[in-house]
């Protein structure tokens, strides 16, 4: 067989695959729309960022100092005073309505106590049913109150003061997109490259067309290659959408080299494609391929890749397990290149691991690929 006929076979086959993708509107919507929807959901709707949280204030003192603190709290972008309470028993009621997350209680004679005994008390009551957010809110409130205290201290000259100054490196505004974009990239590429590729190959088995393809003189490797190319292209389109969205809509700049970012992404796509190939060699139905991809891959990616939960806080067993999740290494690389602006020298270890995994999946797939039924 000459190179020309092989090229022609390949092109015809790839064209056929695109017909399959383009004529199935539902799956095409999933392929191209899912990344956009996921990125927007994780970027805007589901976020750990705290903004405009409703709080209640019980001001038992009503003097200059408490007013100053309240207006300082309100002027921050984090809090809105939702209601002003008049007695202690209203606090719990206010929490039970679900409208407020934090209540701030000032003691009686706040300003007097502050001026004369140098000691005044503010009670912060937070909704502990969401511990992470409660902690964050308490920290924000304490910071605001500390600021007020510092302002007071500047007027009088106190001898010993230690000021802490915090700075969030790489993500000064603590934007949620900085963690969701790499996570969504890791997830989407795995979903499309692995699940769709395995389904596309298994579909041929299920429909019986594989029987004819096998009987044809077309080389099995060529069949696989033509199955993989369209999803590779779809993945590249998705990468472009994700990056454009994250830069222009979510306001997340690419600090490092964009070429390096694309290079590691292509490496990751290869890894996901070869994993899809492996799944297709061990299953015979589209349903099984989908279940393996979803349960066997999506779950570990979300749980173990460090995207949703920090790996360092996990039990040792899970920490070890997380090492075999390719997305973990990819997300580390994306964060390094995209957010920290690190070059190839900083991510060679991760690239090597993913290359090794790809090779491993490919070898097993080739070994398991059947030239017969």
């Amino acid at each position: 067989m000459t190179g020309k006929t092989i090229m022609k076979q390949l092109l015809t086959f790839v064209k056929k695959e695109f017909h399959h993708i383009l004529r199935d509107t539902r799956s095409m919507l999933v392929l191209l729309g899912l990344p956009i929807v996921q990125l927007l959901i994780f970027g805007f709707a589901i976020t750990n960022e705290t903004r405009n949280v409703n709080i209640a204030v019980l001001n038992n003192s009503k003097d200059q100092a408490t007013q100053n603190i309240i207006s300082k709290i309100e002027s921050s972008k984090y809090f809105d005073v939702y209601e002003t309470l008049t007695s202690n028993d209203q606090i719990e009621k206010a929490f039970k309505t679900g409208k407020i997350r934090v209540a701030v209680v000032f003691q009686q004679n706040f300003q007097n106590e502050l001026a004369h005994s140098n000691k005044a008390q503010i009670q912060i009551i937070a909704d502990g049913s969401d511990p992470n957010q409660a902690t964050t809110l308490i920290n924000y409130l304490s910071t605001i109150i500390m600021e007020y205290q510092n302002e007071l201290n500047q007027q009088s000259n106190l001898p010993y003061t230690i000021n802490t100054e915090m700075r969030m490196l790489y993500n000064p505004e603590l934007k949620g997109a900085y963690s969701s974009v790499p996570g969504v990239m890791g997830m989407i590429l795995l979903l499309i490259s692995t699940m769709m590729t395995s389904i596309a190959i298994v579909k041929e088995k299920e429909l019986g067309t594989m029987e004819i393809l096998l009987v044809s003189p077309m080389k099995p490797a060529l069949v696989i290659l033509s199955k993989v190319i369209p999803y590779f292209i779809v993945s590249l389109i998705n990468i472009a959408t994700i990056l454009l969205l994250s830069v222009f809509i979510l306001g997340m700049p690419i600090q490092g080299s964009i070429f390096l970012l694309i290079a590691v992404t292509i490496l990751y796509i290869f890894c996901a494609l070869s994993l899809g190939l492996l799944i297709s060699t061990i299953t015979n139905s589209q349903l099984a391929a989908m279940l393996i991809s979803l349960l066997g891959l999506m779950l570990p990616v979300v749980m173990l890749s460090g995207y949703a939960f920090p790996v360092a806080n996990m039990p040792l067993v899970l920490q070890v397990l997380s090492n075999i999740v390719p997305a973990k290494w990819y997300i580390i690389m994306v964060k390094s290149v995209m957010i920290k602006g690190i070059g190839i020298a900083g991510i060679w270890k991760e690239s090597l691991i993913i290359s090794g995994m790809t090779l491993f999946f490919l070898l097993i797939s080739i070994k398991r690929f059947k030239i017969r039924l």
């Binding site: 019986g208 096998l214 044809s216 077309m218 039924l373």
Partner: protein, 303 residues
């Protein structure tokens, strides 16, 4: 050279519960330019034989050769000279008629134009629908398209696994006429079918059951060897008639065949049967002597 030779082929499938012998020590050969029919009910091993011959399945025991090439060693060569139409409709439902044909032409290293004369008879009927998706074709049209796709690379041997199952009688007839024309062009055809009436359209047939070949011969010879008088018996109450006929001491064989019961007798005397049926209270019954068909021979062999 023989088109196909099978020698003592055995194929077993192992499931958790049991071991099934799908092909049980089968040997036969097919001449070049012949239409050879594998006739048998579902599960008689026809598809397994097709898959072994098309190199898709490995036999447990025995050898098979297609045009002199060994199905195990020379699988690559065989795959480029055969045309195969699997039992299930195996084309792409979401591609149009033309796209399907073009696709299969390309992966078999040819073009539609190159071998158009081979498929023109069949494809002419499909041409008005060439922009229609294959999934939206009727059953007969689907099979014609599948045959076109199997033929497009001008194979030397055609393997057709139940090509007419689920196809209307008119299309079935057309389909067989096409096979005759292909045979005239020198293509050997091996076809399987569960329809006994199609058996007489083959040059030679093998009657199969439970993985074994019961008989191989010309259809006419098989019918001639029936060797008994066959009677079609009809009455108002067909169900009690079947029981009564089977209870009749002289009955050798009795089966329900469409609207009649087909009967052979040990002592060939229709008059005695007439008396017997009267005595059992049947009204308006008819007993007529008929020519046996392949199906009757099959039933006789199955016993």
């Amino acid at each position: 050279m023989k088109a196909v030779v099978l020698e003592n082929i055995v194929k077993t499938y192992t499931t958790k519960k049991s071991i099934i012998k799908a092909v049980d020590d089968v040997s036969f050969s097919v001449e070049e330019g012949e239409i050879f029919g594998l006739i048998g009910p579902d599960g008689s091993g026809k598809t397994s034989i097709f898959r072994i011959l098309t190199t898709l399945l490995l036999a447990d025991k025995g050898n098979a050769r297609v045009l002199g090439y060994d199905v195990v060693k020379d699988w690559k060569v065989i795959r480029s000279i055969i045309g195969y139409m699997p039992g299930r409709f195996s084309l792409y439902q979401d591609l149009t008629v033309e796209e399907n044909l073009e696709f299969f032409a390309t992966i078999f290293n040819t073009t539609i134009q190159e071998n158009y004369n081979l498929i023109s008879d069949i494809y002419k009927q499909l041409e008005p629908f060439k922009t229609r998706r294959a999934g939206k074709l009727s059953g007969g049209m689907k099979q014609k398209l599948a045959l076109s796709c199997a033929l497009i690379h001008k194979p030397k041997i055609l393997f057709l696994d139940e090509p007419t199952t689920g196809v209307d009688p008119v299309s079935r007839k057309e389909f067989w006429e096409m096979l005759k024309r292909l045979k005239a062009q020198g293509i050997s055809i091996i076809v399987s079918t569960p329809y006994m009436d199609e058996a007489k359209l083959c040059d030679r047939i093998a009657l199969m059951q439970n993985g074994k070949i019961m008989k191989i011969d010309l259809p006419q010879n098989i019918v001639n060897e029936f060797g008994k008088n066959l009677y079609a018996v009809h009455s108002e109450n067909m169900f009690t008639l079947l029981n009564d006929l089977r209870a009749y001491p002289q009955t050798e064989n009795c089966f329900a065949f469409g609207e009649n019961h087909h009967l052979t007798m040990k002592e060939d005397d229709p008059n005695k049967l007439n008396d017997y049926l009267k005595s059992t209270g049947h009204n308006n019954f008819t007993i007529s002597k008929i020519e046996p068909g392949i199906e009757d021979c099959f039933m006789q062999l199955m016993k």
